[in-house]
């Protein structure tokens, strides 16, 4: 079994079989993570650079752990636009790094399409670790893996993504992946944080959690960024918490226990109440564990293709 593309740029258009292959492969890597010795050899001799143009501690650590556990050599390049501010372009930075003979690039960048761009200008396999408000495919894959593990299937599940849909790569990748796998997807949040024509992607739009919870299996709660308030997109964190924050009261009308997910880091008691984040139906820490397994699966499948 092989993936159709030698890059992982996004889940938009990724075939169902490819997604399933990644999920299946992650099962065996999750088992590796339970062993006393958590290292396996498949990427021995491969060099991977984690090219992070945006600060992101947890995604980078998750990738780095996955890379090391597959025995790859790892280089980290973290900058908040420093090359660009020195006048160097993304293309130059990437080509310079590639000249050092690396095999794979994991890219985090603030511009949508940055990893698509990179995949055209370098020979290495490119993995998108988040490109602006576009996609974050490994996050969505680990979210789907976590749901699949818990429910045994994704088909027919109803997942609602809550929060700032407009600026969320996590939301988009989840929408693409979950719909491909046959789940029902809803989004819920303030109208000012809903991108235009979002319903045309095949999701239902809600502005009140109470309206969607009766039929929902899982809530994937997004982090709300304070700077959105400054750009006039919502009035205050207090109002956001009261009307859009996920709390026990707002989900009280659920007919079954609702699984709580969050890509982290959580603003406790803002978008998600602490009791739910730490509650018995929260799978937030499983998501973190599964993140390493999923990234191992992706790195393995792409790194052993040739």
């Amino acid at each position: 079994m092989k993936l159709q593309s030698r890059h992982l740029l996004g889940l938009d258009g990724m075939p169902k079989d490819d997604i399933q292959l990644i999920l299946d492969t992650a099962v065996s890597f999750k088992e590796v993570l339970e062993r006393p010795i958590k290292k396996v050899p498949p990427l021995q001799g491969k060099t991977i650079v984690n090219l992070f143009f945006e600060a992101s501690t947890r995604t980078r650590i998750s990738f780095e752990l996955a890379e090391r556990r597959l025995s790859a050599d790892v280089v980290n390049f973290t900058t908040s636009g420093s090359s660009v501010s020195k006048g160097e372009t993304l293309k130059d930075t990437a080509r310079n790094i590639e000249a050092m003979k690396i095999d794979m690039v994991v890219l985090r960048h603030s511009a949508p399409g940055a990893s698509h761009f990179l995949s055209r200008v370098v020979d290495a396999n490119v993995i998108n670790a988040g490109d602006g408000g576009h996609e974050h495919p490994t996050q969505a894959l680990l979210d789907m893996f976590t749901l699949w593990e818990k429910f045994g299937t994704l088909k027919g599940l109803h997942v609602c993504i809550v929060g700032d849909i407009s600026h969320s790569r996590v939301a988009l990748s989840n929408i693409f992946g979950l719909l491909t796998m046959g789940a029902r997807v809803s989004v819920c949040g303030p109208a000012t944080l809903m991108p235009r024509d979002i319903e045309k992607l095949g999701v239902d739009v809600y502005h009140r959690l109470e309206d969607v919870v009766p039929s929902v299996d899982a809530l994937n709660v997004l982090r709300i960024q304070l700077e959105r308030q400054k750009s006039g997109l919502f009035p205050s964190l207090r109002e956001y918490q009261r009307y859009f924050g996920v709390t026990k009261e707002k989900i009280a009308k659920a007919s079954k226990p609702i699984t709580i997910m969050h890509p982290g880091p959580i603003n406790r008691d803002v978008e998600l109440s602490a009791d739910l984040a730490d509650g018995e139906h929260s799978v937030i820490l499983q998501q973190v564990t599964n993140g390493v397994a999923i990234r191992m699966a992706v790195l393995y499948l792409l790194g052993t293709m040739n």
Binding site: T89, P112, G132, G133, R196, D197, I198, K200
Partner: protein
């Protein structure tokens, strides 16, 4: 120089001519027009069977980048690109460095235009409407007009303050010169890289909504109705709503005209999915119903002019992340092919109507001398092969820049020659 053009289909919408004729041109003047003229050996004979002889084409919206950005384009390379595209005149926008907001810069551009390629392409500068194109103070409009500016525009930026726009329209009306608006309400378009809609949502890309354009046009038309005397021209319209607003205003009798670019009647925002920065321009590519509205607007006369918004940028400037890339594509060398392919072959315009959009209409809007294909007139001609099939190769462009989304595209129809100011060039 004596030239005998034989058996060409002469189409001159102004005189209503459309027939197979011979033209004899001596020292830049059309000496004779007639059927099967005889000539002696001193004439160079050119057989134009199945080809078209049209009044010289003008592109009233180009960026020649000089002075200030000569690494993208110069007046010389821009003129060469225009010549290759079949144009005998261009109007260049003032977003140069320094800005064309001073009579010395107007004169510089005109002189430079006359000096390159033997003056085969007339270069008409469009001056800034406000100082530095900042939208705060009136540019010295009377001086700019007397130096030779043919229109006023802050193109690249809108004149966003309604109060400022009112003053620009009032002041320019004394000179009968059109104000060309780059229509965009900045508080709605701010930060956007592409059309706002399904595709931008799917790509996670910041959007520029269609209403940013429509709202600005509507506002300006209300000003125009109030002021009555001014001449207002909307640059590069891109949305169905704008076509409807302009159509309505024309019915009402307002002195409004507008233009569309070939890319806006050819491409939709679907092509942005490639993240190819040569699909990034402002206004952005829109949806299918907008593209259809452009063609319908051209057909019913709502849209007067086809202009390219030729906007050269180097490969290095364009080969960056989509949101960081500059807006704009080059257009001079693909305009005729895209227009014949997309409009004439598809039945939206007759070839004669197309010629009007490239020649008589923009000249009328800008109050430039009219071109007539008649004995005694100066020869200012574009020669066309309307059925020639070719493939766009950006590397063969004469423009310094190659930023076009049309590389590899098959087109039908091409300019095969231009004649102007006593200079003859066959392509």
């Amino acid at each position: 120089m004596k030239l005998h053009l034989k058996n060409g289909r002469v189409i001159d919408p102004l005189t209503g001519t459309d027939e197979i004729l011979d033209l004899q041109i001596v020292n830049g003047i059309i000496e004779k027009v007639g059927k099967s003229l005889s000539s002696d050996k001193t004439f160079q004979n050119v057989d134009l069977r199945d080809k078209i002889i049209a009044p010289g084409f003008i592109d009233m919206h180009v960026h020649l980048r000089e002075p200030g950005f000569e690494h993208k384009e110069t007046i010389e390379s821009g003129v060469l690109s225009a010549r290759e595209g079949g144009f005998t005149a261009v109007c260049c926008m003032p977003n140069t460095e320094p800005t064309i907001d001073d009579e010395s810069v107007v004169r510089y551009v005109i002189e430079k235009g006359k000096s390159v390629w033997n003056g085969i392409v007339d270069v008409y500068p469009i001056a800034a409407a406000t100082k530095g194109r900042k939208g705060e103070e009136l540019a010295p409009i009377a001086e700019l007009v007397s130096a030779g500016a043919v229109a006023l525009s802050d193109d690249g930026s809108p004149i966003s303050s309604a109060g400022m726009m009112r003053r620009v329209l009032e002041y320019s009306s004394m000179y009968g010169i059109p104000v060309i608006q780059h229509a965009e309400e900045p508080t709605l378009s701010y930060g956007g890289s592409m059309n706002e809609g399904y595709v931008s949502t799917r790509l996670g890309m910041p959007g520029i909504p269609s209403i940013a354009e429509e709202m600005m046009v509507a506002r300006d038309l209300l000003l125009l109705r109030y002021l009555e005397k001014a001449k207002y021209h909307v640059a590069h319209i891109s949305t169905k709503g704008t076509v409807e607003i302009v159509r309505h205003a024309k019915r009402e009798g307002l002195t409004v005209t507008c233009e569309v670019t070939p890319h806006h009647f050819t491409l939709t925002d679907d092509v942005v999915s490639s993240f190819d920065t040569n699909t990034k321009m402002n206004p952005p590519l829109r949806r299918t119903d907008d593209v259809v509205a452009m063609k319908e607007g051209l057909r019913d006369g709502t849209i007067d002019v086809i202009a390219t918004d030729h906007a050269p940028h180097t490969v290095d400037e364009k080969e960056v992340e989509y949101t960081q890339a500059p807006f704009g594509i080059v257009g001079l060398e693909t305009a005729v092919g895209l227009s014949i392919t997309g409009l004439v072959d598809e039945g939206y315009l007759s070839i004669s109507q197309l010629i009007e959009k490239f020649s008589a209409n923009p000249r009328r809007i800008l109050s430039l001398p009219t071109i007539k294909i008649a004995a005694g007139e100066r020869a200012n001609l574009t020669l066309l092969d309307p059925t020639f099939e070719w493939t766009v190769d950006v590397n063969s462009f004469s423009s310094k820049s190659k930023n076009s989304p049309f590389g590899g595209k098959r087109l039908r129809g091409k300019a095969i020659g231009v004649i102007n100011n006593g200079v003859v060039h066959f392509l």
